[in-house]
């Protein structure tokens, strides 16, 4: 093979490669871009595929304080997400610290049990809580959502955080202990600041899981306490779906999570596979 042939082949290969990469970009981004475009398109032209249109905020006005107000659902989403995160983080940090720094009877089985909870189907959790919360008068409250969200979040971020604590140098803790630092102070003043990046990642995941959750609010909080993903259902009317508003609401559901996901990108795979993939 002559050098010219080789160069030509390489150029062709590079060209094909670029086409393939562009195809991936299109596949990944198009639905997101299209939703964003539709959100700013006049509602009457929601189905238009023309790239030229007069951008409008009418869809956003309709869902924020307008005819299909979703503000309450948005507030619920934020409150439930923040509460779930604030409750889960300290629990997870303590548990992760125990798993990471101690060996004790039941260590391995408890750790595996944490992973196993991720395989439980949502209905098997939601159905019993449906009747329990009914009896307790908690049905359709944000409290009920925070409680069931713990089943998703606590095991997941405990595992994630354990990985972070494993990576912290134990020498610092030993030095602090020699200086007479008690256990509580050690956790609060030494471990927490050191684990801060991990805590941040876990906070993001915890909020994201809670924000995107659909099955639990569908079962337990369909009206007053409902969150945004279920709130989207109110835009489905007998006469058809209000697609312009759906896109606008979808954008509000999506954008915060897209931004957050970019922060924790590296930890996604690790968390999903419970550390099997580094």
């Amino acid at each position: 093979m002559t050098t010219r042939d080789l160069t030509a082949r390489r150029a062709l290969g590079g060209g094909l490669h670029l086409v393939a990469v562009l195809a991936i970009l299109f596949f990944v981004l198009f639905p997101i871009v299209w939703l964003a475009i539709t959100a700013f398109r006049p509602a009457a032209e929601a189905f238009s595929t023309s790239p030229v249109f007069a951008p409008t905020l009418e869809n956003f006005r309709a869902i924020i304080g307008g005819e299909n107000d979703l503000t309450a659902a948005a507030v619920n989403s934020v409150v439930v997400g923040v509460a779930t995160t604030l409750i889960s983080l300290p629990m997870a940090l303590l548990a992760a610290y125990a798993f990471s720094r101690h060996r004790f009877p039941g260590h391995r089985s408890m750790l595996l049990a944490m992973v196993a909870t991720q395989f439980i189907p949502g209905v098997a959790i939601a159905l019993p809580f449906l009747t329990l919360f009914h009896d307790l008068g908690l049905l359709d409250t944000r409290t009920s959502l925070v409680i069931v969200n713990l089943s998703l979040v606590v095991p997941y971020i405990t595992w994630l955080l354990k990985g972070f604590v494993d990576g912290l140098p134990i020498e610092i803790e030993e030095a602090a202990r020699l200086d007479g630092c008690g256990q509580v102070r050690l956790l609060w003043r030494v471990v927490t600041p050191l684990a801060a990046p991990g805590l941040f990642v876990c906070a993001v995941f915890s909020f994201l899981l809670s924000w995107n959750e659909f099955l639990f609010p569908t079962f337990l909080a369909k009206e007053n306490a409902t969150t945004l993903p279920v709130g989207l259902m109110t835009l489905v009317r007998p006469e058809g779906v209000a697609w312009g508003q759906m896109a606008a609401a979808g954008l509000l559901v999506m954008v915060p999570m897209l931004v957050m996901s970019l922060f924790v990108r590296k930890h996604f795979a690790q968390g999903m596979t419970m550390g099997a993939i580094k």
Partner: protein, 321 residues
């Protein structure tokens, strides 16, 4: 890795402040040390017990009881295995099992296959590969319920933008009503899953590909191996454990599919997209038969338990390496 850290901490904990072992204070201290991890675990364990173990046990018990909410708000008498028998004799239950298995099979094959292709493409350096890798995570961060609405919108058989694109390439598909035909409605559900998962799987596999030493591939190239041979005999064997994990993971999440069924098809057309999770939901919610729905949800628990066990075994073997 776990063991190393723990042993280190155990060793360091054995002689704090140089107290002679066996003295009274030392023993008390050691007792406290032994109790400490459990104290730390208590809040998280309590939360997990309350929110997963309690409902699982409760659903198991309810599955053996007659309980229709339209008859009574309190659970009725025990009926033994009656509701499980009913499930296995019910055609609509059987249908949902088949729908779930079919959906799981197709979405695992497509998500992992496309994810692998993406990973191999992006593993080669070239323009835009860095940016594309950075953006791979985005679809997965979109709420599944919203994914459903978004694809339902784009696959609208009259005006949807994807429908138009497909029609432009395959004119014979112009009359296909994507959500009106059982097969295509299932495929639209599969597509929403593939969109979210294939890029995530690519991201995971890229991590694995990065650990394949370039010298190995280079050596194979020098020995005259074709690109396919290099993939078949070098890359693939190194990637296989990772692929297994990814397949299990995707299977578990596919078996649990619920959100998009609600936001795209509502189980239709007919019962063509009624997954097990959705079936249990309609039994409990629409027909208010909590007892039967609980029995069905436990069938799903067992099915997922089987897959989960396989997953944990594979993962364990990985960790041992």
């Amino acid at each position: 890795m776990v063991t190393a850290t723990a042993e280190r901490s155990a060793a360091s904990g054995a002689a704090p402040a140089g107290r002679p072992p066996g003295s009274g204070a030392g023993r008390g201290r050691r007792m406290r040390r032994a109790a400490q991890p459990y104290l730390h675990l208590a809040p998280a364990l309590a939360a997990v017990l309350l929110t997963t173990v309690y409902p699982l046990v409760s659903a198991l018990v309810t599955g053996f009881r007659h309980w229709r909410l339209n008859e009574s708000t309190a659970p009725g008498g025990f009926v033994g295995l009656e509701q499980y028998q009913r499930a296995f004799q019910d055609d609509t239950f059987f249908n949902s099992v088949m729908v779930t298995l079919w959906f799981t099979f197709v979405s695992v094959v497509l998500s992992v296959g496309i994810g692998l292709a993406m990973a191999l493409i992006l593993n080669r350096r070239g323009p835009l590969t860095g940016l594309t890798k950075a953006l791979l995570i985005l679809p997965f961060a979109v709420a599944p319920a919203l994914k459903g609405f978004s694809w339902r919108f784009m696959m609208n058989p009259d005006h949807g933008v994807y429908d138009k694109m497909i029609d432009a390439v395959f004119p014979f598909a112009a009359d296909v009503n994507w959500l009106g035909e059982p097969f295509w409605a299932q495929m639209v559900l599969v597509l929403t899953e593939v969109w979210g998962w294939a890029p995530l799987i690519a991201l995971m596999l890229l991590g694995g590909l990065a650990s394949v030493p370039p010298e190995v591939n280079e050596a194979a190239r020098v020995d005259g191996c074709s690109a396919w041979q290099r993939f078949r005999h070098v890359t693939f064997p190194l990637l296989r454990p990772l692929l297994l994990i990814v397949i299990f993971l995707k299977a578990v999440f596919s078996l649990k599919l619920f959100d998009q069924v609600v936001t795209i098809t509502g189980g239709g057309p007919g019962r063509a997209t009624e997954t097990l999770n959705f079936y249990a939901y309609t039994q409990g919610f629409t027909f208010l038969d909590i007892g039967y729905a609980s029995a069905v949800s436990w069938i799903l628990v067992v099915a997922l338990g089987v897959v989960a066990t396989g997953y944990l075994i594979v993962m364990n073997r990985q960790e041992a390496k």
